[in-house]
Symmetry: C2
Subunit: 491 residues, 2 copies
């Protein structure tokens, strides 16, 4: 199968599409900009979702569900938010179709069924949720509200790419309400930490936590925190955002609470989200020219076992011998697939599990059985070894941990090797085209930011939260700066 995959060096973008195709993750639908997430891709998304959901609940959040549609009058209430999303809104204007009088079997929109007020298909749910919170919040006793929802959202995009940018995508959006600014900021930062922990410990993807510049903030936010990861082509990918919304939505929807002294004040808000875009990040962080590579913690199948057999007797013998080990692995949380399909050759299966990024593949035939051996292949390094069958459970469990760690360390090494400090704008301009993260001083002005973008197509990805204060001068304007920012080309 690897021969069907374009090499990364040749065409990174084509390679990305080939991986998605060969691993059967997703495909374009006939609906402009909307994708079909195929079962194997969706199984990975379910692993992502289940883990994040657990982490949200452990940090005190509950799930709920709010309407898909936002009436236009609610949508426009928070002006900046509305302005930010207006250009990409799918709008429902009618609620009925009727038979086309001119063509039998065809339907037309019924002009009689025009909505009095148009409905926007949610591009994000602050408006509909804060309009609801208004009814839920009277006093400090009603706070905090810590709610998350898993939902589909629609942002009309002209240029789409599977997982990275689609008109409809799946995401989660947390929407919290607080009695104080400090508590809301604490929540914003806490959820950024949850995202960073998930990215690093589960996706095995190192991230830089930072703040967005004003021009890159979420529409309607006072401050946007983000995690930025480096893909294998050196480009940055924003993997999650957590917004401190101040009192903007509370003011737009008139949501006030009385504090312990009975004084009325507007409620403080946060929102935070990650989406199916993480699937793109996962693919581009680890995969190689042979197919998808998955960190064990997010792999739907941890171990594929390919028996090498002729006839049912040999298959049965192998199966009987392996069953206790399979049971033991399963009992300790390892997902095992024993592939006894006799219509596919072992070599074909090897290639399939390689393409699908299954972390560990075992192969065993009659001779191995005789010798008490089994072949172990790890997907990340493609190393093969033969081990004693009796040790297989402990070996596989250790190996899964090792693969998880190795993928993270490899990605971290790559990121660090492709991240450098730069002080001269000329040098930056020469280097930035080859990709990579550049740590540079910036004077903090929108003008300089704009100039960098226009000159190089690179953007200020974030102002890192961690990292020492350092006096310096902006590489573009020469004005003073006290911290380096991360600049890169981005997805």
């Amino acid at each position: 199968m690897a021969e069907q995959i374009t090499k990364r060096e040749e065409d990174y973008s084509k390679w990305y599409n080939d991986i998605i195709k060969i691993a059967e993750l997703a495909e374009h639908s006939d609906v402009r900009g909307c994708m079909v997430i195929k079962p194997y891709g969706f199984a990975i998304w379910e692993k992502i979702k289940d883990q994040l959901d657990k982490m949200f609940k452990e940090t005190g959040h509950q799930n709920a569900y709010f309407p898909l549609f936002v009436p236009k009058s609610l949508f426009e209430a928070e002006e900046k938010n509305a302005e930010g999303f207006a250009k990409e809104c799918a709008v429902v204007t009618h609620y009925r179709l009727k038979a086309d009088p001119n063509e039998k079997g065809k339907l037309i929109v019924d002009p009689e069924a025009r909505l009095e007020e148009e409905l926007v298909v949610r591009p994000t749910s602050e408006a509909i949720i804060w309009n609801t919170y208004k009814k839920w919040i009277q006093s400090y006793r009603d706070l905090p509200i810590l709610i998350n929802q898993w939902a589909n959202v629609v942002r009309w995009e002209m240029r789409t790419r599977l997982f990275l940018r689609t008109a409809e995508f799946l995401w989660q959006e947390g929407h919290t309400a607080h009695a104080s600014k400090a508590e809301a900021i604490e929540e914003t930062e806490k959820m950024l930490d949850v995202y960073a922990e998930f990215a690093e410990n589960f996706m095995a993807m190192p991230v830089i936590k930072g703040l967005k510049s004003e021009s890159e903030r979420f529409a309607g936010a006072e401050e946007t925190y983000c995690i930025e990861a480096m893909m294998q082509d050196g480009k940055a990918l924003q993997a999650g955002t957590s917004h401190f919304l101040g009192q903007n939505f509370a003011k737009a929807f008139d949501v006030k609470f009385s504090d312990q002294e009975g004084k009325l004040d507007f409620v403080w808000a946060t929102s935070w989200g990650v989406s199916t875009r993480l699937m793109g990040a996962l693919i581009m962080t680890h995969s190689d020219d042979h197919g998808l590579v998955l960190p064990p913690k997010l792999a739907p199948i941890h171990v594929a076992i390919v028996p090498i057999f002729k006839g049912d007797d040999q298959l049965m013998e192998i199966k009987d011998k392996l069953q206790p080990y399979i049971n033991e692995l399963t009992a300790s949380g390892v997902t095992v697939k024993f592939d006894s399909d006799d219509k596919k050759r072992p070599g074909w299966k090897f290639a399939e599990y390689e393409a699908k990024g299954v972390p560990v593949r075992l192969a065993i035939g009659p001779r191995d059985l005789e010798n008490g051996n089994i072949e172990v292949a790890r997907r990340d390094t493609q190393e093969k070894s033969v081990i004693e069958l009796k040790n297989v459970v402990a070996h596989v469990k250790d190996l899964l941990d090792e693969i998880q760690n190795n993928l993270f360390n490899k990605a971290l090494k790559y990121r660090n090797e492709n991240m450098e400090t730069v002080d001269s704008y000329e040098e930056f301009k020469q280097k930035v085209d080859k990709g990579g993260f550049y740590l540079a001083h910036w004077d903090g002005t929108a003008e300089t930011e704009e100039k960098i973008k226009n000159d190089t197509k690179a953007t200020i990805r974030c102002i890192p939260l961690e990292g020492n204060e350092e006096s310096g001068v902006c590489m573009v304007s020469g004005k003073p700066s006290n911290k380096r920012v991360v600049i890169a080309k981005a997805y």
Copy 2:
């Protein structure tokens, strides 16, 4: 809190709304016909979803995700399906808003951004999915396809009721493709069995499995199987449907496969779904005038513990004493909430857990501690007893099983007591207004079905799958019939 609940006898419909409100399950949003599912309601839905998802996977299905939008030309391809849903379609016609030139801060639909082809917000996904399956299926080797999706759908309803009938609702829809008619029918029946098992063993809600009459079939189906449950007012509620779609969608979307001999044939299809409507069924099957009653298997909290204390020392003493038991319960899968909130009185907490249907409530104060006792209250019968604290784990576990069984048996008894055979149409017409299921002979014609509906507002709920053949004559027309059907007023 019970005083805020209208009695069932007074006004069943109002009682239903009161239960939803007091148990904080859901509320109407400001978007016409769309509901907000609140955290506690959503937690119950998550329990429903998780269990069904497990059962779907155990029967070989995988999840995937297909687009929210259906282009009009795809939507109208299967004519009967299109005709069935055309009247209730939300239609997206534009993809952009712009600033209103006449009113600052307001937005209008940008007339320049009209879609070439309108998009229907999916009322069901057969069209979009079969248009995709066309690309996936060439040969018998590609079959069966056994896919499910969890999604939101929109059917524009003029009269809405929380959970029972809303413009947007959450559901799952299974869509399978098969190489033979027999296999597709087997799948249709298998999934009906899954639904029935879920309804009876998890929701504790007895159901009758049956076939819909032709007029009640899903638009585009050859046969619709259903499960019908009786609510406490004697009305029927259709809780799930499984459709044998024949080759209708394969023909509409030209989906053919080559069989083992290389012969081409259209693919056979099924689809099956349950929705947030199940929440309504759950509420109306078990709840009483004191609030929600939940079967333990679907309760987000199994046991609420209310400590009765003055000051932190007493609270700590109770907590320390109970902690080992809480740990033991938790370890055996029982969800325990220890409610140490000192801003609410015990009586208030008792009422809250009663209203929210928590199956078991424990209360313990300093005197109980001294005597080694704890008070146990069960929600279903409202019985209270005092037991030895040292036995609490075994007692609670047994009690949860007992409550689960008791709720089912109680509902079954009610259903059976309110189901009767009837042979005279006059008798039927006299009785049907008081609710209940009527087993009557029907001649199988649409005319008779229509007459019954017009005369009484009752409908043929299903032709039961189980139940003996029995010769008789139609109670309306006097024509011969070989089986009784279930007739009732319905939600």
